[in-house]
């Protein structure tokens, strides 16, 4: 019995070592699990775009996995028999310790005592303190590959950048060959790449700024300055790309009830308003709001038409300032700027549409007056080709005879003052007349004759003559182009089936 107690104590000592090794083992296992989840997360990020908390979640998963693994390994149940079996396995004791502990409670004493003594005798040869249990899980071999895989995914561009690659691959597979491949790569190198780079640069600056703000606790004023600078750069970039400038086209006033302004006057008016608003915004951002600022805003709002949205916004700004709400005023100033820009552009568009409508009405009116002199109205449709055949004789051709010369250069009156008509191309098809557009002030119409194509034409060259040439080209293409092996035979069979017999 004493021997059994001694053996049990030894096993208990070893069981703590086993727990620690299991803690490391399970931590590594959990870490690998966490890395796999991280890999999936990164793949999702590449497909649907990054959330703002991606790095926090990434590290949270890893730290959580390691902590969970250690706790699981330490507090997982470890019965003495199990510990004894692991000890047997470690020291190659041929199940002596495990059998001794299992037989200890039995009534039969002779053999259990013999087994226990045998186990103790074997254990005496081993210093238990120096025993080290295996900490590394069997799956540890895949850890480097897992980390490398994760790193590769991290380096990969987002899925949206892969459009060109996939398009080129599809092109190649479809048998369009190197031409499409080259074209695709040249496209990738030119415009879209630059645009992406610039957009990414702006985005990365904004992201860095946001991170810096969180990290260092930068003041609001500094951030506003940087954001304004970035916003200006972005606006400039947008204007360059889109080729739009709201002040370059010059509106003519709107139909919102305010007296329309004429061209440059309106442009200058809105430019001034915006400049003034920008100045005011800078003043508010700097925290310099007060009575002077309020009066300036009120003055500006009075210049605007009474029903204008931007005027209402400015009045709200003024009210917010008078109540000492600087930040609210700042926000409303921004909204006011936006509204001014919008109302300006919308009034421009409306003006342009109205003018366009008026021009159309005037043209239709003139046309109605001139109805009868012209063959077709713009609104009428051609119902048959014969309807389009000209009745005039001024463009009759071909010329039947040449006119005689005059007495001196430039004295002979010509029957064709606008020059000889173009020689008619030989064609047996029907002619189609296409009426030209009527200039609004024009007296005569312009008519263009297009010779019709051959009807029910037959191929003039027999297949026997062209077939060898076509076949040669097909064979060359089969050699040159990247056609999947399985399809080569199909192409070959197709051309063989065309062979004349």
């Amino acid at each position: 019995m004493e021997d059994v107690m001694v053996l049990a104590r030894k096993v208990r000592k070893v069981s703590w070592k086993i727990r620690f090794s299991r803690a490391i083992e399970s931590a590594l296992r959990f870490l690998m699990g966490g890395l796999i989840v991280d890999a999936l997360f990164l793949i999702a990020v590449k497909i649907i775009g990054p959330p703002s908390f991606q790095f926090q979640l990434f590290f949270l998963l890893i730290v959580g996995a390691i902590t969970g693994g250690i706790l699981y390994g330490l507090f997982r149940p470890l019965p003495p028999i199990k510990a004894a079996r692991l000890l047997d396995q470690k020291l190659n004791l041929r199940e002596r310790v495990g059998t001794a502990l299992e037989l200890a409670p039995s009534k039969e004493r002779e053999w259990p005592i013999a087994v226990t003594r045998d186990a103790l005798a074997c254990l005496q040869d081993y210093p238990l303190r120096k025993i080290k249990f295996r900490c590394w899980p069997r799956e540890i071999k895949i850890l480097p590959f897992l980390v490398a895989f994760l790193f590769i995914i991290y380096l990969l561009p987002p899925l949206s950048d892969w459009d060109f690659l996939s398009a080129s691959r599809t092109g190649i597979l479809a048998g369009e060959g190197e031409r499409l491949e080259k074209m695709t790569y040249s496209l990738q190198e030119k415009v879209p790449k630059q645009e992406w780079d610039q957009s990414r640069e702006l985005l990365s600056q904004l992201e860095n700024l946001s991170q810096q703000m969180q990290r260092e606790g930068i003041g609001l004023e500094e951030i506003i300055d940087r954001l304004s600078a970035l916003s200006q750069t972005a606006q400039k970039r947008q204007q360059e790309l889109e080729g739009l400038n709201i002040f370059s086209e010059g509106g003519r006033g709107g139909e919102s009830g305010t007296p329309p302004l004429e061209g440059d006057a309106e442009e200058n008016f809105y430019r001034l308003k915006l400049d003034k608003l920008k100045q005011l915004l800078t003043a508010v951002e700097g925290g310099r709001w007060g009575a002077d600022l309020e009066s300036e805003i009120e003055e500006l709002s009075r210049d605007l038409p009474p029903g204008d949205d931007s005027r209402k916004s400015l009045e709200e700004v003024s009210q917010a300032l008078s109540e000492g709400k600087g930040e609210q005023a700042e926000e409303e100033l921004r909204q006011a700027m936006e509204k001014i820009k919008k109302s300006h552009s919308s009034s421009q568009e409306k003006q342009f549409l109205n003018e366009l409508q008026r021009e159309i009405d005037r043209s239709q009116q003139q046309l109605r007056e001139r109805k009868g002199s012209a063959e077709f109205s713009p609104g009428e449709e051609l119902t048959s080709p014969s309807q389009a055949i000209p009745q005039e004789k001024e463009l009759d051709y071909p010329p039947t005879e040449e006119s005689e010369g005059g007495t001196s250069a430039g004295t002979e009156p010509s029957a064709h003052p606008e020059g000889l008509p173009t020689e008619r191309l030989p064609s047996s098809g029907e002619e189609i007349r296409v009426p030209g557009e009527f200039p609004l002030e024009a007296e005569t119409s312009l008519k263009i004759y297009i010779p019709g194509g051959e009807k029910e034409a037959k191929a003039g060259t027999p297949l026997r003559e062209v077939y060898p040439r076509y076949r040669k080209v097909a064979e060359e293409t089969l050699i040159k182009e990247r056609i999947p092996l399985g399809f080569r035979e199909y192409v070959k069979e197709y051309f063989q089936s065309l062979e004349p017999r």
Binding site: R94, E95, R96, E102, W111, A114, D118
Partner: protein, 340 residues
């Protein structure tokens, strides 16, 4: 090692002493047999394990490898009676177990008297057992399993230790009757007698071409063998080691959930519970001869092949693919992790 003292004498000797004596006797037996038989250490060890586990052994090998000599030598070293039965197609069951014959007394009265057959010996060599008909082969069934034969309604007990060694030739299959599964299952081990290597062959020639032929000496008696058999059955085995042996046996069945894919595909029938008994008892003997008081996973693994190879029946696909039961057992040993 005298059994006459009964329980009191057993208690007088400690387990350590008894197992030490067991080990010494076993080694002496082994060494004595090896004086005559060259090589075949594994076969000799397997035969002795079977003898001490109260089992019977089937030896498979081509002719001329010393199977019969091994059995004869064993009977010499054990100082036990020995019978050799040459199985032929015309051999009848009565030729093995004996028959009632008419006797006449001095007073002229006639009566039946049982004439014992060759099976009434301690060690039986059933040579080329697969050459006899299944009817005759089955005559061994009761003797091997029950330790007795019944003739004309009378049970005749066989004297212990009763040990059957059967041999069969794996290559000459024409005119043979493969042993039925029920018969095969009664053999504790099936041992394969391999061809000797160059050095062993040289030693065989050296020993058998001289004027002096080596002779084995008597080492032990039948009673000592029975005492050793008793020790074997006392050896403890941990529950998880026993579970491992049982899982190995269960895994031989194609319908079992723990059977590997190869077993499901190539095996027709798996081992019977006798296979598990064979694994555990064989493991116990292995533990004792390796100076241990408990059975280990290694012991079970070492006796897995001879215990299970004749109890696994391959299906047509398995045989067509060139599999044999030994390769299936290899798969089982690789798949079933000890202690899990």
């Amino acid at each position: 090692m005298n059994n006459r003292g009964g329980k009191s004498s057993k208690m007088a000797i400690s387990v350590e002493d008894r197992t030490r004596l067991f080990r010494v006797t076993f080694k002496r037996l082994e060494n004595e047999i090896q004086k005559v038989i060259v090589g075949h250490q594994k076969v000799i060890e397997g035969v002795l394990i079977c003898l001490l586990s109260k089992g019977h052994v089937l030896l498979e090998g081509v002719p001329g490898l010393g199977k019969t000599l091994l059995v004869k030598t064993l009977s010499e070293v054990l100082n036990l009676s020995f019978s050799r039965i040459q199985f032929t197609p015309d051999l009848m069951p009565a030729d093995i177990i004996g028959t009632n014959i008419i006797w006449e007394s001095e007073r002229g009265e006639k009566f039946f008297r049982f004439q014992k057959g060759p099976i009434f010996a301690h060690i039986i060599l059933a040579d080329e057992i697969n050459r006899a008909t299944p009817k005759t082969q089955s005559a061994l069934l009761e003797a091997m399993q029950e330790g007795g034969v019944t003739v004309a309604g009378t049970l005749h007990r066989l004297e212990e230790p009763f040990f059957v060694l059967a041999t069969q030739n794996p290559i000459e299959m024409e005119g043979t009757y493969p042993l039925p599964e029920a018969q095969l299952d009664r053999f504790f081990f099936k041992l394969k007698v391999e061809y000797p290597d160059l050095s062993e062959l040289s030693e065989i020639v050296e020993r058998t071409t001289k004027s002096e032929v080596p002779r084995a000496e008597k080492i032990t008696t039948g009673n000592e063998i029975l005492e050793m058999r008793q020790i074997v059955r006392e050896v403890p085995i941990a529950s998880y080691v026993k579970d491992y042996a049982l899982k190995l046996v269960l895994a031989t069945h194609p319908n079992s959930a723990i059977a590997p894919a190869e077993v499901k595909r190539f095996v027709k029938y798996g081992s019977s519970p006798r296979g598990a008994q064979s694994l555990v008892l064989g493991g116990k003997v292995k533990a004792l001869i390796e100076d241990r008081y408990n059975v280990s996973f290694d012991d079970i693994q070492e006796v897995a092949h001879p215990s299970l190879r004749h109890r696994i029946l391959l299906n047509f696909e398995g045989e067509a693919e060139g599999w044999d039961s030994d390769s299936v057992i290899d798969i089982l040993l690789k798949g079933a992790k000890p202690g899990e």
